[in-house]
């Protein structure tokens, strides 16, 4: 089994320690860049990238696109927001609570749809998202609706550094968990399901159970990131649950390369700072998202990770020769 995996070019890249290198590079950003703005942009890029990584856990490995992703993110955010402001719970507990709530909603969605084909999960999650968004908008007493819910910051200091490193830690944690699962025997089953459900089933893999695990974990992580976002940004509106956010995350994931896990993070770190400059031109920014998504899907489905893999492949060939 190990041999089959070792043949893949992506393994060569990860043996080079590129992920480790990337983490060190990310951790060094605040030390090198003294400008708060650059630090802020990197943090936002990392936040989006971590979401893209989490969404890749379903899109890239079990062929399911969670079309309500933003709602799981938003549910985590609102859970910690309401708990910390109204019940005075510590933000750290809030993070866990947000993760738990989104995970539970993930289990619920999964139980309803996992025995069916991928389309049902996408549509059900999408409808869940629309319902949740409508509920947050309507239940003004709890969520303050469109006025926005104010959330206490996690750290009292003025500096962005504690938040930055907390998020970096969360991102590394998510990466390690996803990577460990994928490299394990369970991961092999995931890949088999992603390639062909029927063959996977014929070889004794129970797709439903594995898909449940991946989907639930992905939802829980989305909630964790959402909870962090709530404390970082300080105000929540129902817009965080919108389909637009979901599409942005999916686009980042596809641009970065499906099935690579880190591709989405790379894409987000490159694309998000670029887009900050286009902030006044929201439409253009979203058009670029759409155009990039279409272009990558049509011409180069492997995305940025695919580019790097083929570069790694070339290096390897040269080395062998």
């Amino acid at each position: 089994m190990q041999n089959v995996i070792a043949l893949r070019p992506r393994e060569y890249i990860s043996q080079l320690g590129l992920p480790f290198f990337g983490i060190v590079l990310l951790a060094a950003v605040p030390l090198v860049a003294k400008d708060e703005y650059i630090r802020h942009l990197t943090l936002i890029g990392m936040l989006f990238g971590a979401q893209a990584m989490v969404s890749d856990f379903t899109i890239g490995f079990i062929n399911i696109s969670n079309f309500g992703f933003a709602a799981f993110f938003g549910l985590g955010a609102y859970t910690t927001g309401i708990l910390t402001t109204q019940y005075g719970i510590s933000p750290w507990v809030g993070l866990l609570a947000g993760m738990l709530m989104s995970g539970l909603l993930g289990v619920f969605t999964g139980v309803l749809t996992m025995r069916l084909r991928g389309l049902y999960v996408s549509i059900m999650a999408w409808f869940m998202a629309l319902a949740l968004q409508a509920l947050t908008l309507v239940m003004v007493k709890v969520t303050r609706g469109a006025w926005g819910l104010f959330v206490n910051p996690m750290f009292t200091s003025e500096s962005i550094l504690p938040s930055f490193y907390t998020l970096l830690l969360i991102t590394i944690l998510i990466y390690i968990v996803i990577k460990t699962i994928i490299e394990s025997r369970i991961g092999l089953a995931f890949r088999a399901i992603g390639m062909d459900v029927d063959y996977a089933r014929a070889s004794g893999v129970n797709p439903t159970r594995y898909k449940m695990v991946a989907f639930t974990l992905s939802c829980a992580f989305a909630g964790l990131l959402g909870a962090f976002y709530a404390h970082f940004i300080g105000i929540l509106t129902p817009e965080v649950m919108g389909t637009q956010r979901t599409v942005e995350i999916i686009a980042l994931n596809v641009i970065g390369g499906r099935g690579s896990v880190w591709g989405g993070l790379l894409a987000a770190l490159l694309v998000i700072p670029l887009f900050e400059y286009l902030k006044s031109l929201m439409a253009i920014r979203l058009i670029i998202y759409g155009a990039l998504l279409v272009t990558v899907m049509v011409f180069y489905p492997a995305g940025m990770a695919g580019l790097i893999w083929s570069a790694g492949d070339m290096l390897k060939r040269r080395k062998v020769e």
């Binding site: 062929n63 696109s65 389309l119 049902y120 549509i123 999916i250 253009i284 058009i287 998504l293 489905p301």
Partner: protein
């Protein structure tokens, strides 16, 4: 609730139902014939409304001509989209065609919607009426002519499509492809042309819906999101890829939306849609009328 209000609610439900049926039939065709899970039909609805708006106001066309222009325009948009990205992607279509085509339609819908924002700015472009005037029924209740005509157009388009699918050679070819792609190819059907035609028809259905509703819902870049969402509810309710089930499903969803909006208020139709979907998934995941075309889907 007094009588005119009930009547009005039912009428709105009926009209919306017809509209959702039109879009849902487009979705069903895409799903049944080409196995595409489409998220962009709402945007075709938007484009149809814009074409009708400009034909009606800028070119001073006859209302029916404006709606016809919208149908032709969205048909052509469909041809371009199918011949362009979809055909290109189909060449390397593999096991994950469902996910790939889904993501492609998501990207296209994002692209089209925001291109509309850029081109026409997020302002409402509506007309007060196509024909104007009301017709009185039951002595006291009035219906505007526009609504009546919109409903009529929906019914006519659906009937025409059904006749086309069942009584012409090309229509039979489309159904043959939806039943068995390889078998249809062996029987000498040009699959490529059938795909383009079905895609364009699916887009046209959305365009007609948008154009005929212009005086009721004005043209707006984001107008396609809600109809797309309800049309998907119709498809899930009726059964995947089931064209005739979409008509009944559309009426049910339209009524439910109108009544829940009237009784409980804004925001709740989305919640009720989710609840309906949950019930469908628990009780009969193949949809109320699903089973006939399940083979295509399960392939």
């Amino acid at each position: 609730m007094d009588f005119p209000l009930i009547w009005n609610t039912l009428l709105v439900g009926l009209l919306r139902g017809g509209l959702y049926s039109l879009i849902a039939i487009g979705l069903s065709i895409l799903l049944g014939v080409m196995s595409i899970i489409s998220m962009m039909n709402g945007e075709l609805y938007m484009i149809g409304a814009y074409i009708a708006y400009f034909s009606f106001t800028a070119f001073k066309m006859n209302p029916l001509a404006a709606i016809f222009m919208a149908a032709v325009g969205t048909f052509l948009v469909g041809v371009v989209i199918e011949r362009g990205p979809f055909r290109y992607m189909r060449r390397r279509a593999g096991e994950d065609w469902y996910l790939n085509s889904f993501l492609l339609t998501v990207g296209l819908s994002f692209l089209l919607r925001n291109a509309a924002v850029l081109l026409w700015k997020p302002t409402y472009r509506g007309i007060r009426w196509y024909w104007g005037g009301t017709v009185t029924i039951f002595g006291s209740v009035g219906i505007s002519v526009d609504r009546l005509v919109a409903l009529l157009i929906a019914i006519l388009s659906i009937t025409a499509l059904q006749l086309f699918l069942h009584n012409t050679n090309i229509g039979r070819a489309i159904r043959a492809v939806s039943q068995d792609e390889r078998g249809a190819m062996l029987a000498g059907i040009n699959i490529g042309n059938i795909f383009t035609l079905s895609f364009a028809i699916a887009c046209m259905m959305g365009g007609i819906a948008g154009a005929s509703m212009l005086s009721i819902t004005p043209a707006f870049p984001y107008m396609g999101t809600a109809p797309n969402n309800y049309a998907w509810l119709v498809v899930m309710l009726a059964g995947l890829g089931n064209v005739s089930g979409a008509i009944v499903g559309g009426l049910i969803v339209g009524m439910v939306e109108a009544i829940s909006f009237q009784l409980i208020g804004e925001g709740w139709p989305a919640v009720i849609s989710a609840v309906i979907l949950i019930i469908v998934l628990v009780v009969k995941p193949s949809g109320i009328f699903g089973s006939a075309v399940k083979g295509v889907w399960e392939r």
